[in-house]
């Protein structure tokens, strides 16, 4: 159940993410990592309290210590202004347009997903990739978020069960354990 996108938009996003990060035999992709959920959760960050912008600290609990990542930081009034501008856009509100109108990520995603076509989930992969490449700006935006959803901390909704990190033999956050001096200095 998507947090912010409509069911149809979410399905289109999922299909687009799966083209960018395809799954294979023994190879996790966007589907396994929940990359579309990461992006949907980011777009709908303000549907949570506190908003899901910054995971907490100092550790996730995966390598010992407290599971602090799960508690998101509260935003200051200035933080909230910045993140509402980034996600929602300025929407004609004077307090968000001190340097002119701002197009938010929600609008960019809505427009980008529409441009991929209502039948995007039904056409074959080659055609999906062609449509993605046709919209260079949206493709670049989506790719950046796909990378975050594949290789970011799982508390943000992607990299489910750390599949992204595991596949590339990366341990992710390592506090409070860290690395020994020998692990640092030797091959």
């Amino acid at each position: 159940m998507p947090v912010w996108l409509s069911d149809h938009e979410y399905a289109t996003l999922r299909a687009a993410c799966a083209q960018m990060l395809p799954s294979g035999e023994g190879t996790p992709g966007a589907e396994e990592a929940g990359v579309a959920d990461y992006i949907d959760g980011f777009l709908g960050a303000f549907t949570f309290d506190p908003p899901r912008i910054w995971a907490g600290g100092p550790s996730s609990g995966r390598k010992g210590g407290v599971a602090g990542f799960a508690t998101f930081h509260r935003l200051s009034p200035l933080d909230e202004l910045a993140w509402r501008m980034r996600l929602e856009g300025s929407q004609g509100k004077p307090e968000r347009e001190f340097n002119g109108p701002v197009v938010g990520l929600q609008e960019r995603y809505r427009d980008g997903l529409v441009a991929l076509g209502a039948d995007f989930t039904e056409v074959e992969g080659r055609e999906q990739r062609r449509r993605l490449r046709d919209d260079e700006a949206f493709c670049e935006l989506l790719w950046g978020h796909c990378c975050e959803g594949m290789y970011g901390a799982p508390e943000y909704g992607g990299n489910r069960n750390t599949v992204g990190w595991d596949y590339i033999d990366y341990e992710g956050d390592v506090q409070p354990r860290g690395y020994s001096d020998a692990e640092v200095s030797q091959p």
Partner: protein
Amino acid sequence: MSPSAIIIGSGPGGATAAEVLTRAGWNVVIMEKGRNHLLDPDDLTRPAEDYSNDEIKFISRYFLGPDPLVEPRAFRLSADDGEHTHVGEVNSIPTTVGGGGTHADGKVPRFREEDFGLFSTYGPQEGAAVDDWPLEYDELEPYYAEVERAIGVSGREGANPFAAWRSGPYPMPPGAPMYGAVLSSAAAEKVGLHPYEAPTAANSIAYDGRPACNNCGFCAFFGCPIHAKGDPVALLTRAMATGRAELMAETYVSRIITQGRRATGVEFIDRDGVTHTREADMVIVAGGAIETPRLLLLSGLDHPALGKYLMVHFQTIVVGHFADMRLHPHKGRSVTHVHDDAMVQDDRTRQAAVGAGLPWFRGGLVEHSGGGLPIMEARHSPWGRLHAQTMRESNLRERMWAFIMQGEDLAYATNTVDLSPSIRDARGYPVARVTYQPGHHEMAASKYHGKILQSVLEEMGAEWVIHTSSPGVSYHGIGASPIPESRHVMGTVRMGDNPDTSVVDRWGRVHVLDNVVVADSSVFVTSSGYGPTLTLVALAARAAHHLAGTAPEAPAAG
């Protein structure tokens, strides 16, 4: 009654001033426009637990600020570009309690003797304002020694054959060398260079109530989750423990209020947007080399040198690829080895400078470092069928080693910080506009030393090597951004004895305002090629001791 000071900015300079003054019995208010993620809000004498190993939070989402949507800057290469060519991130240093100290990986070299006398040592350069500082290394050494103990610096005395003299050893031994740095140091020695363990403000052993670094790898651009990095958390917690410091986070100073030759206090805006004023005997400005001149301009200070001579280390970036090695640069403290050879003149360097049409040139400290983290690597990898394989092979993260030379940037009158005519921050104030481009000196030094660094990576076994720079320049042909990546920003509120050509005196005091002192890297006369932090901290300690009439602490006996 104890004297009082308002300190604007809680980064390394402001924190140092607060620590020295409160120790001397002053009452200080530290006003920081960013949020407090450094100190425990329930007990400001203890570190907070907000930092984490989180690439999304620190790299993608501006956790340490500034957020360029609400606190942008404007940029242009020169006045010929019109009002600006870019609005957004420009040389952003964290806007948060602890300032630039929070995100730095803590390399804190001292300057050398000649760095304070560039004009006397080397002479002029056409088009540049090469000058001597109004103080010498010998005068600053006791303050270097005091702040190294205060923040906790690890290093090995005698490791760097070119280092300036020291009155004592480093407070801690060096930490574990990174595997890639072991290899690149060996290769550098074969080429005739002199690598050594980087002086680093990260604990190699438990020190001052903070734990030893556990090598988590989230060092450069991240706050330290266990506070093994001492700058400036050590200084701020110590100042708070005196009971004579008040920390006001999310407090935006909009103006220094002046009357004749004196400041009476400041006007500030609180987190809810309400404007207040506060008085003090002394105002200390420590906002960094971009925000400090901006505030002085917003306060109506008028001086022909204010905002001029912005310097940003010219970064020469030489990257090698090692197909058969996994260098795991994510383990360790980002940079454990450096070398100074590009700061030292020899016959070949002098000939190269003359060949480039210059009387002399200097490079800078060379950092031995590796690749980035997975999100960064993924962004630079292709999407689609080949992506997973590319990431698993990890050519950018695991198989790359690099040198970054922080090249000396000469002071040019045309490189400036002023107020943008049209761009505002969220509170409605004009943002800083940076006008900057490197000169012939920086590019010639980069070309020459870049080739030497290429030869080191080849000696190390690199399959291929590329050489680029930040800011990008046309001869590399790679299209790197003309906006400098360096966070080493200096100059703009130049220090000197002549009030006509400098904004502050040798103690950091504004020539025309008797009780306003600048305590950050904006007072630098030249940039050297060493990271500015320890020098700005030593200068801030010196300025604060001068105000308080105290002397730097001698090391404990034994």
